[in-house]
Every structure is written in C-alpha cells, then in structure tokens.
C-alpha cells in the first residue's frame, strides 16, 4: 500500500483514491461542503483546500500519490477556510436563528468548527426568491451555496435531472427542470436523494421542521469533524 502524510501523520491509500478519501479512511477530518462520499467530486466550495508539496489543491478532487506531503491543519489554512466560509455567508442570506435547519446545517456547523464568530465581509443581501410551490418540499434560494449536491443527487442517484446551476459569477443561481420553472412541476418527490442532500437550509422537507427539537440536533452535541467522520465511514 502506498503512503502519504497529512500534517505529518502517515496515511495509506488505495490507487485511485483522492486525498479526501485517504484522509477520511484514516480518520482525519478535512472541512468540506460540496463533497459527499459516493458522489462525483465537484471541487467548487474550496473549503477542503490543502497544501500538497507546497501547492494549494482541493483535497476532494486531487488524486493521492505516494510520498505526498499534505498540510491541512495549519493556522494559515484554517484562517483562510474561515474566510471562505464567511464568503458563503455574506453572498447569500443566512440567518441561523430563524432557519429551521439550525443545528442540522453543515454550513453552520463548519462555521463553528472553523471558529467563525462573525461574517467579517460586507453582506451582499441579494434578493432571492422562495419556491413554495411543491406540496412536500420547499426551495429557499436565499440559502443556496451552489455546492451542486442536489444537481448530482438528482442526476446520479435519482436519475431525474431535477436541478441545475445557471448564470455566471455572482449571479449564479439554482434552477429546476420544469417548463414553468417551479418545483411543483418537476419530477422531484420527497423520497428522492436530491430532496435530502442539501447541506444548508435551501431544500427543506415540509412538516418536519421541528420534529427534532433544538438541543437534540445533529450538531448540537458533536462537532461536524466528528459527525462527518462517523457518517462518512458508515456509507
């Protein structure tokens, strides 16, 4: 088995694995949002940026190679990951206290993990719509971070192509596959993988908001670094 090191720790890997996969298998958490085991890597959120032999790479897409020296937990990388998370917060409209996803939200949990205490950068306050047309699912564009997971889930897991990401630059936006442009006219159903994969509160299942009370939620007692490793190992 070939080896690489992550922050000095020797980690074995199988040929074809990415640095992220090797790290996860070895029980090392690298912050991420657009990555999910079992899905085609996307490499867009850039939270998993690591230094590989001195060069910045996305751990979720970069192939592991023998002898690589990977740095992940340096003060510089952690600070910059915090800034990248802040970029995601100011770009959209994320108000955790009034969001029903609080405590189950990966964006929020990553922010806690990275000790993000404020948004730092000026808010964009974009005007984004809410699509409440679907009987079982709500799509709140205010909280979309363009991680592409719902796009991949619908295409790869559900075989439906319900979602797509459109627009350019800061005008990027999530679109749905129906002539009306509304969620209710798509093929999306509540048991689709795409309906449950959203790491933030952009895609919500109706009538489930507070089934798990605040205080007993996924990230209320355990940081995302631990939850993520348990989940990702289990899959």
């Amino acid at each position: 088995m070939a080896n690489l090191t992550i922050d000095g720790q020797v980690v074995g890997f199988e040929p074809g694995q990415t640095i992220m996969e090797a790290a996860t298998a070895a029980g090392i958490y690298i912050p991420h949002l657009c990555h999910k085991p079992g899905y085609t890597p996307h490499g867009s959120c850039k939270l998993c940026s690591v230094k590989v032999n001195g060069r910045v790479c996305s751990a979720c897409t970069f192939p592991a190679a023998d002898g690589q020296q990977v740095i992940s937990q340096s003060a510089e990388l952690q600070q910059d990951r915090r800034h990248i998370t802040q970029l995601l917060f100011v770009e959209g409209n994320h108000f955790c206290p009034s969001c029903e996803k609080t405590g189950q939200c990966q964006l929020q949990a990553v922010a806690y993990e990275l000790k993000m205490h404020d948004n730092h950068f000026p808010q964009f306050y974009p005007q984004r719509a809410l699509d409440a047309s679907h009987p079982d699912i709500v799509l709140d564009h205010n909280r979309c971070i363009f991680c592409n997971l719902c796009v991949r889930a619908s295409r790869e897991k559900d075989g439906k192509n319900v979602f797509g990401i459109s627009g350019r630059g800061i005008h990027k936006h999530l679109i749905v596959n129906s002539e009306s442009g509304l969620l209710k006219d798509t093929q999306l159903t509540v048991d689709d993988a795409a309906a449950h994969v959203c790491p933030t509160g952009a895609i919500l299942i109706r009538n489930t908001a507070y089934h798990v009370p605040i205080g007993q939620r996924l990230f209320d007692h355990q940081p995302i670094s631990e939850v993520s490793l348990e989940h990702d190992h289990g899959q």
């Binding site: 850039k46 100011v90 797509g164 800061i170 596959n177």
Partner: protein, 592 residues
C-alpha cells in the same frame, strides 16, 4: 417558429455538442431564445432543459429576455474608455432614446456593454447584431440612428464602418515569411514526422497563450496516451483585454494556422480538429470557411492528405461571449456545448480533453509557429530570443501610442525599445499581458519581454501620464467580476467583493484598515481560486498597490472606521418615493 427550429436542428445535425451554435442562430433570428426553442431543443437533443438554460445564462451573447432587433453592444475595454467611450455611450443612448442595458419600449433596439472586442487598436468599437464596427464617432452614431429609424438591415449599412484594419507594424520571423500552402506538411513528411516533432522540441517553442508550456512535450504526451480518438483544438478565444493578434493572424495567415493544426494531427494521430473562435470574431467566419475549403481542394485537409494516408478535418465552432473560455478546459466544455466552466485537473486535456479523449489545445500563434518551424527547420527559430524563451512573440499594442497594432519581436526585447517603436510618449506605465498580467511603471522599462521576466500572451496597453491608476484598476477589476464563471467560492464571491472594496477606497469611503482588507480579499482569490481567472483577478490591484502604496493610502479617510454602506445614499429611494430633497431628508454619515 416550428419550421425555423427544425432547420436549425438539421443544420447542427442533431448534435448536442453544437448546442451553442443552435442557440446563436435563435438569438440572431428572434433576438432572444424563446421558451419554445428551449423545449424543442431539450426534446430533440435529449438534454435536460436546465442544461440549455444554463448555457444561455452563461454566455453574454445569448438571452432569455428579448433584445432589440438592433442589438448594440459597446466595447467596455480600458482602451475604449481612453478614446471617449463613456461619452459616446451616453450620446448614443440619448440619441436613440434608450437606457443602457434596457430594451427600448418599441422593442426595436437595445444598448449594452460588452467586454473587450479585440479591436483595441481601432476603438471605440461596437458590435451591432454581432457585426463589429470600429472607430465609433458621434458622426457615425448620428448616421446609425437614422438608418435604425429607417429600419435598414445591418447588412445594408455602409460597409466602410465594418472595415477592420490589420495594422501590422513590425514583422519578424513569423509575419515576414509566411510559408507556402502545404510547405510545412511536405517538408515534415520528407523529414519524417518523428524527426519533425524532435525539431519542434529542439526549437524551444513554448505555448504562445502566455502559460508557456513546451509545445512538443504537450504533443508527445497526447500522442502517448492510448486512445482510438484524439483531437486537435486551436484556441482562438483571445479575450484578454488588449489582445487582438489572433484576429489578424486568422485574417491574414489562416492557412499557416490550419497547417500547424494539420501537422499536429499527423504527428499525434488525430482525425478531427476544431478552431474555437471567439464570438466577437464572427465576422471572420466566412473567410475562414473559404480557406478550409481551398485546403480541402488542394488535398491538405480531408481524406488521405497529400497521399500520406492521414485523414483530418477541421470544424470551426464559435463562442458566445465568455472570457473564461480561453482557459483550455473551459474551452473544451464550451466545445461540448456546455457552459465554459473549467474542469478539475488532473486529468489534463492531453489525456482527457474533448469528449474525454486525449486533446491538444494550443494558441493560434503556437500552431502558426509550429508550421513555420516544420517548414524552415528549428535552427533559425531557436537562434532568436533568449535561452529560456526561444523565437519571436507577436504583441498587440494599444493605448497611448502613435502607432497601435501588431508588433513581432524576438523574445528578450526591452519594454523601452517597444515603447520607442510604437511612438509612446510621456508614459506612465504599461499593462503587460492584459489585466491578468502585470502593470509596470516607466521606471521598469529596462525589463525584458520573456517568460523569465515579463511573460505575456500578447496584450500590451500603454498609458500616458494623463491616465488615472484607479480608473485602470477599476476597469480591470470590474472585468474579472463580470467574467468570473462563478464555479468556485473564492472567485465567485471574491471578485465581486474585491470590486466593492476597491470602489469603497476609490470613492473616498475607505478608512484605516481598508487597504489591508483589499489585500486580504486579493490573497484569497490568488491562493484558492479554481483556475487562472480567479488566481490572477487581483493582479491589477496587487501590482499597482505594490508600485503606488501611497496612492491607495491617500484615498483613506483619517477616521478609524468607515462603514461599508453610505447612510445618505441608502435614503435615495425613500427620497424619490416621498418626492423630498430638503435638509431633513438627508442624513450625515457621522454626527457632528
């Protein structure tokens, strides 16, 4: 509409990879992409409609909402601004009674801005229904307004308006001795293809797009990848503001460019090639098709080329207004009919490019040079330039100089020499390599044009002392925010944030700490962006900040903190709605 859609589908032979071409035709016909087109294309090409919408919303020349029957786009490059673009746009809008960025109420016309159109040596430039107009003046606008009100089709407008000059000012190795048709291929086969590749290697030829990867090495990697199909792609998407050399090369030396592509195909074993032509250069398309046709007639393209058993075809695909498509993996995505979003690498295009097959992507000038090296041998090329930068480089010179145009120099020429030759006086500085390159001051004019000092894809914009650094930096920073593809977080948010932060300082709302903040955003962009666009988007800020730190500091107020919003400006909407403008309807930012 049914009939039109059907004819478009037949024209693109129902190939989803040619979706952009189909959408361009719809845009040309309807001046937007009607929903019915989207539905029919989705059905006929077996594409999700989301993918078609994503393509339309990605490219600047495609629209979901109706544009005017006369779609007027004014080039927004810094060189256009330097020749009075702002006043002309204002005049044009006033003359035609239209708001910039809007459709006139009668639906007849729309006026918008577009990124550099590659006509910087003869601006201010415009595109009217995709046709390039050079040297825009008040007089031309007056005449244009009359023609528009008379409903005269653009094809019947005075042809002199659409004349694009080549402006070749200095010729060297490439421009002074174009090869005869077929010469490169004939010599290559005489010498042997393997020997020809060794020759290209010995010549020291490196990619002319700016990155400088060794051409022979790229071809070899591609040839060595096991595959039944390989592709040759010529990158003619020169979108870097200030660059226009490929326009001239394709207008005058297209044979040699196609010969270089064919040579590459013979060496690596490719049967299909593409010329990816930026949408702004659509006016070159017909002539280029004619050149391809004549090459087919001469047996230089098609089946069994020159009797050597090599089959190779070249297809031209047009872009639709997206700077990012100059990035090779984004270009490949665009060739496949998708939004031009750069891919994750590895794998690199040489192993997995167009349709995931091994693909060589080279710049127009690189192919042209390869053909010349094949025809004349590597020695004369290698003898030019410096040890690390062999051969010559073609520059597109624009801005404050007496003789803008194309200049070919051996690598290693000094900036001072170039400035002298193009007739630049009272120089403040030069933007070498376009906005993604470097700003240098006149004090640095001893520096050399070479990969090891000032690398460049060819853009060379001269500024004299009447120009404002902030105006330049702002134009470039706005450009990157507009052209960011939006895929990765640092670039999508960072380019817009950098724009806001720069505006805050330039407009005099900055205070202590705001320059540090500007550097912080720039650092995130440079280090963490997915591709070269984001990694270089802060270069205008960083290279000028390095040279003029005091200029930035002078803009800052003497207070310790200035909020990111302007209290009084925020009340503007309320004042308008209330119809008030008295003293009580205004707020001071800081209480006195």
């Amino acid at each position: 509409m049914q009939k039109f859609i059907q004819s478009v589908l037949s024209e693109i032979e129902y190939q989803p990879v040619r979706l952009i071409e189909a959408l361009r035709k719809c845009q040309g016909h309807f001046h937007y992409i009607p929903l019915e087109c989207i539905e029919r294309f989705a059905e006929a090409l077996h594409l999700p409609r989301t993918q078609i919408i994503a393509v339309i919303e990605f490219y600047s020349f495609l629209h979901l909402k109706p544009q005017g029957s006369y779609e007027i786009l004014i080039s927004d490059s810094i060189t256009d601004h330097m020749s009075g673009q702002k006043d002309l746009v204002e005049y044009l809008c006033q003359r035609l009674q239209v708001l910039p960025g809007h459709l006139r109420e009668d639906g007849k016309l729309s006026v918008g801005l577009t990124s550099c159109t590659g006509l910087c040596d003869q601006g201010p430039a415009a595109l009217v229904n995709g046709q390039a107009i050079t040297r825009l003046t008040v007089d031309k606008i007056d005449q244009m307004a009359v023609l528009i009100e008379q409903n005269l089709p653009v094809s019947q407008w005075p042809s002199a308006w659409f004349w694009v000059a080549d402006n070749i000012q200095r010729q060297d190795f490439l421009l002074s001795q174009p090869i005869a048709m077929g010469q490169g291929l004939q010599v290559a086969w005489q010498r042997g293809l393997a020997e020809t590749l060794t020759g290209i290697e010995a010549s020291g030829l490196r990619g002319r797009g700016g990155a400088g990867f060794k051409t022979a090495l790229k071809w070899r990697f591609c040839a060595e990848t096991v595959s039944a199909q390989r592709y040759v792609v010529c990158n003619a998407d020169e979108g870097e503001p200030g660059t226009f050399k490929d326009r001239v090369l394709l207008n005058r030396y297209a044979h040699q460019v196609f010969e270089g592509m064919t040579l590459c195909a013979a060496i690596i074993g490719a049967t299909q090639g593409f010329l990816y032509l930026r949408g702004e250069y659509a006016f070159l398309l017909q002539d280029l098709q004619n050149v391809l046709a004549s090459r087919r007639q001469q047996g230089l393209l098609g089946a069994n080329i020159l009797g050597h058993g090599v089959n190779f075809e070249i297809e031209i695909r047009l872009g639709a207004g997206a700077y990012i498509c100059g990035e090779e993996s984004a270009l490949i995505e665009s060739l496949e009919g998708k939004p031009g979003i750069p891919r994750n690498r590895p794998p690199y295009p040489v192993t997995s490019g167009y349709l995931n097959q091994p693909t060589v992507v080279n710049n127009v000038e690189t192919f042209m040079a390869a053909a010349a090296i094949a025809a004349y041998g590597p020695e004369s090329f290698a003898a030019l330039g410096t040890s690390q930068s062999a051969g010559s480089k073609i520059l597109s010179i624009s801005g404050d100089c007496a003789r803008p145009g194309l200049y070919e120099y051996p690598f290693g020429v000094s900036i001072a020499q170039i400035l002298k030759d193009c007739g630049a006086e009272d120089v403040l500085g030069v933007q070498v390599g376009g906005p993604s390159g470097t700003f240098i001051t006149i004090e640095e004019s001893h520096r050399l044009l070479a990969y090891e000092d000032l690398a460049t894809g060819g853009s060379f914009i001269v500024f004299n002392n009447s120009r404002s650094i902030f105006q330049i930096v702002k134009n470039f920073t706005d450009f990157f925010a507009h052209e960011s593809c939006g895929f990765c977080t640092p670039c999508r948010v960072g380019t817009s944030l950098l724009q806001k932060q720069l505006d805050k300082i330039v407009l005099g709302h900055g205070s202590a700490g705001d320059v540090v903040e500007l550097e912080r955003i720039a650092g995130l962009l440079r280090q963490y962006s997915h591709c070269g666009l984001g990694q270089t988007a802060a270069n205008p800020v960083l290279t000028t900040l390095e040279r003029y730190p005091e200029l930035y500091q002078q803009q800052l107020k003497k207070i310790s903190y200035e909020p990111g919003f302007d209290l009084d400006a925020a009340l503007q909407v309320a004042r308008q709605m209330a119809g008030r403008n008295d003293a009580a309807a205004h707020l001071q930012q800081v209480e006195e």
